[in-house]
Point group: D2
């Protein structure tokens, strides 16, 4: 796809989001209801902006990963934009995973309707405390083989979208396949034994379908429910994690740009001390810092996207670093916009405080800033250790010791 | 030049700087003396790493602007590296300007020896307070036409490198050519009437040749001394400013990477509370923040370099934004390294405190952070104003007003 | 009142808030309803912790301003604590004003029931954009004398508590008393012509009674409705502003301490990478920064309270400075607690995200951080100018100029 | 001593430092030479401002600890002020220790001449890596009893002032007194076997006498050289540490105030874009942030000083917290002043860059910011654990778990 083609998709998405989606936004704090979503998705399809990341044969626009950022930013300019364009989490990450791993039959049953926006999905990995991070052995949800079928038992937590989902990709330990083996299963939400539990209330509304607990009470599925290679759930999950956190960055960067544009509109129209707000240095400092945050975020996303394509391992590092920076930067940008809009900013007269609540969880989701910083530091230390072991002179030798 | 060719230059420069240049560094706080510089430059030429930005026909490596960053970073890994590779300010920016503007004769007399490292140069624009920023009318140095020659009078300030320079590019108002006209002149430092004045002491040592005042007492030059189009000095200066501040970013980013590598070496070898320092979270937080600063700096430089090539006007904006971020980020990175190296960091046992003094002025040079922030905010406001005038809906309309 | 007496009030308030108030807190995002408030206020009175700032003869505890901080912090440890102890804005500031300015009759009609918690009140100063800040001439609400009575016309905005208030202190321009004269009036909310308008939705719940627009359509009051000296509304308002913003600091500092205690509880009980979270340096860094924010906030509040008592003018400066620091610090402390509590922090599983929304507006209320910074800088410049005019040597003389 | 008496000492010190000391300052980067110091000390004594912290009977002004801050700030307004007023580290902390621990004979021999400014002193605790922090067992310098005398062997590092000192207080392990026992010895610098080793170069100049290594080769001293109780060196050292880091805060806060005053002078006199710099919001933001840093620093110092007097254990915590905040705040204040003074700020035209180098090491000296943050977090966790064990309800219980 040529740069001009991408630019055209960006322009179309931009127009659609601004002309159609923003006027249809629900009041701040209210999620988009499913019918309104379906109607807007039909309009998006008609406008040629639906499912930008999905292959053309599945009804999408077929953009390569390196071209997603500007389009997802345009979608994210409205909190409901990504849902309307069908590129919202967790569905978008699930489509990626299905595309890579699904059998033809799974593709037909799960990916086709998901890509079309006909159904929604969940990714059931997180568990209640002490929970399972990246350690397979800590996974408490277990699937046992019983007479050619799998029986799943366990509890998941914070399963985004589960209340509206048709199915979930469930991570479960499969001790029959080895002590540390875990497997992904495609499990319909209406399968017997699936129970949606305690609904976790949040202030964020962009991911519809709630974030409830989901319990699996002896849920039976056949071998055809296994997604990818049995026992390889954690390796497969990596395929999803790097891009998924990066698309979060893209979408929320779009929302931060909306906040900055709102602030820019405000500083032109309001006066303080007899000057347009935008001519006051204290306002300019906030605006400039936000421009820098927006530009550095975009640049780090591009760098990570290119890296994910070139070398998935390097890409994971780059997307981790981008995630920390972008998740913090978008919060700062929106916070400054709140401040610049004064009284209207801190109430629901403008949607900015709502935006602030939308993005705040991203500093915790998909690995907290602290966990990523820990990993970033460790990788830096390992990188440098390898250089020194390879012959580079250690640099911390004090003059006094020379 | 292919990506592989660039990678090879990077690798060569890296090896040369680490194996040859770093061992030759003078004690912290001491500038490199001219003979040592000349000897190292000969070695650089022999190693095929001399003048990476200079066209091949002038003896350089002929790298395009978009490939400078990784090479200049390797050079900047040592404070004296850029001087040794002949890509240090102000010479490097002057070469760029001469290449674009010089007549064949000027090229021969000024650019050829400069590119070869045989002479050094200055750029004489800044003046004593109230000084001339970007306002031609404020330029106090004046050149009058007298019988087919130009007579220059005035005082310049903070003329980096002047004490070692063979010539300077002097900006002077030329009222004979119009009220706001200014012209660039190539003026030998030994021309009658050129006086090097008050030497401004600095803590920084990478730009050798001092930063003195320079006075022009009726200095006479001919028409052949005019660089570029008469009366167009300020337009020409723009050619230099955008790339020049970006190459500063590249070089000092290299020094920041050196500081980070020093800290990484230190945290592997030292223990605190019975753990290697690098396993302590408080150290990891500092290291990770520096990794983010380094990566975002590199990404913004690349973005600005591509932009400068594609569209000089956009490029000026992008390099301004990169300059603010990088000049502040490199200071933070080195400061964190100082902290991680403890007692050795805050003394001359390690060169880190020296590095901190090297980079501190960059937040003021080439436009202070505050001046750039002011400009960045104004451009953002103008960009958004144009969008709204073009039909975008203003976003700051309070719900109460709908 | 001795230090020991104050310490006893602090201890009592602490026990009452923790044992009685916190268990009665409504769900995050829900305001306290008036009956529950009344019941809790009765308990507070019985426990001897009601109205700590109110003189004993009015049923309060009679604490001097310099002793308010620790008690208000204990009250603010719960978002509903200040309402229960009847020391919440805007009532608390109105009590202060009435105590200083009310006639015996006004005292009986307005202050006595307000101090007793039998009624609530509003302070009607803010107006819709362009609004009236500190410039009397910009006040659009006007009161005209008509036959020995005052007739008030105008619109107010963001009138906190108005929906539950029995009366408001209304600032109106009174041109009959001079061009820049403004006067305070005590106006019952049920007076003919008072209309509660557009309700401004907020995420914050601690100030109950909404923040609506209030319109005055020819509202008639007698001379006995004038509070304080006619024409002196702006001078009188200063009496309220300094302490009122400082008591906001005290209350919200208490909430920030609650957030920090929540985080401290969490880091003891949760593990990450096999260590209690509290032993991980990245968590320790967040906790330590919050301790510093809490301690510096408390210290600046004490300094400002002492200053307000000693010299109201100095006190205004000190409370302005404290307001900027504390309003920003409490946001940082709660934000770090959110981060330390991970998934629970960013949902309503814990009330922390609610706390974040409670305190965010304080950076805008009572003068935005930017407006205060502007004022702080101007006062610093003026202070230094006076010193130099008094004979101090100017310090910015460059060596080169000596 | 009454508040008025203290105010008078402050005023006198202020006048003396500004009228006498500042004009005598050496060029930036150059330490004060001993003769000039002696002459200025004589003037200080004549002006009644010498040794403010020293008891009257020893020739000082007899100020209590809670009154030191404003006076030490005035002294620190010049980098050489504390040396001139004889309240500079390490002498000032040594005087405190001697006053508490010295025998009458030690008092006469060591404290009297030190308080009089006739000699200087060192505190020899720090050792080369891995060094001895607060762990007695790690102390490598050892003193053995041999026939009624002590023989000291070992190496110390970073012994501030040693090159000009008459004696040092040496911490040595004394295994004869117990496995973890350490003892303080008063050791003349000219005792046989004392060798001043490798001089550590620094950029900071306020502490004269260098920071060299000092080696002890079988240095013999008698029992009369023992300072305080044998074996109690680490407990005694605590007496010094809390106040000593707090007086560093006081002195460097004074220097930061000088930087801020310099910036305030500059913004009144310089123009940018046709406005005095001080009317530009970007400058105002910097100035206001510095005012807040200065005020919060002063408030935390006062809080810690009061705490040290009331309860040494609480005081240690409070001085640790103050140290982190003040050491970082003074750096920020001076850095902003550098920025506001532009070209003059980043060169030696003004002394600001020198000031920046003076204060930078303080974030490492006396326990690095990271070490203090670690300790602050641990104490906060312990404080909260005790509260919960005492019956407070844990606050981190998720709603879902209720």
């Amino acid at each position: 796809m040529s740069a001009a083609d991408v630019a055209e998709v960006v322009a179309r998405s931009r127009r659609f989001v601004r002309d159609v989606v923003i006027p249809a936004e629900p009041l701040t704090g209210t999620p988009l209801d499913p019918e309104a979503r379906a109607a807007l998705q039909r309009q998006a399809r008609a406008a040629g902006v639906f499912a930008p990341h999905v292959p053309v044969e599945l009804g999408g626009l077929g953009l390569p990963l390196t071209a997603w950022s500007p389009v997802f930013q345009e979608a994210g300019y409205s909190p409901i934009g990504p849902a309307v364009l069908n590129c919202m989490a967790p569905d978008e990450g699930n489509m990626l995973l299905l595309e890579r791993l699904a059998t033809p039959a799974q593709r037909e049953s799960f990916l086709v309707p998901l890509a079309a926006g006909d159904v929604r999905s969940s990714f059931a990995m997180t568990e209640p405390h002490p929970g399972a991070g990246s350690d397979p052995a800590a996974l408490a949800t277990v699937a046992h083989r019983r007479g050619g079928r799998w029986v799943i038992d366990g509890e998941k937590r914070f399963i985004s979208g589960a209340e509206e989902a048709a199915f979930a990709i469930v991570m479960a330990r499969t001790p029959d396949l080895g002590e540390r083996a875990a497997t992904m299963f495609l499990v319909p939400m209406d399968a017997p034994g699936v129970e949606i539990g305690h609904a976790i209330r949040t202030l964020e509304t962009a991911i519809t379908g709630g974030h409830p607990h989901v319990r699996y009470h002896g849920v039976e599925v056949g071998e055809e429910a296994v997604l990818g290679t049995p026992g390889e759930a954690f390796r497969h999950a990596q395929l999803r994690l790097g891009p998924a956190r990066l698309t979060h960055c893209m979408r929320w960067l779009g929302l931060a740009r909306r906040a900055q544009d709102t602030a820019l509109d405000r500083v032109r129209s309001r006066e303080l001390f007899g000057h347009p707000l935008g001519e006051l240095g204290l306002a300019q400092a906030l605006l400039a810092d936000s421009e820098i945050d927006l530009a550095s975020s975009a640049a780090l996303i591009d760098r990570a996207a290119a890296s994910l394509v070139a070398d998935p391992r390097e890409g994971a590092t780059a997307s981790s670093l981008a995630k920390v920076h972008v998740s913090e930067a978008v919060g700062r940008v929106i916070d400054r916009a709140v401040q610049l809009c004064g009284g209207d900013g801190v109430t629901h007269e403008l949607p900015l405080l709502g935006f602030l609540n939308e993005v705040r969880p991203f500093r915790v989701y998909d690995g907290s800033s602290e966990t990523h910083r820990w990993a970033i530091a460790r990788r830096a230390i390992a990188r440098r250790r390898a250089e020194v072991e390879d012959g580079e002179a250690a640099l911390d030798v004090a003059e006094g010791a020379r």
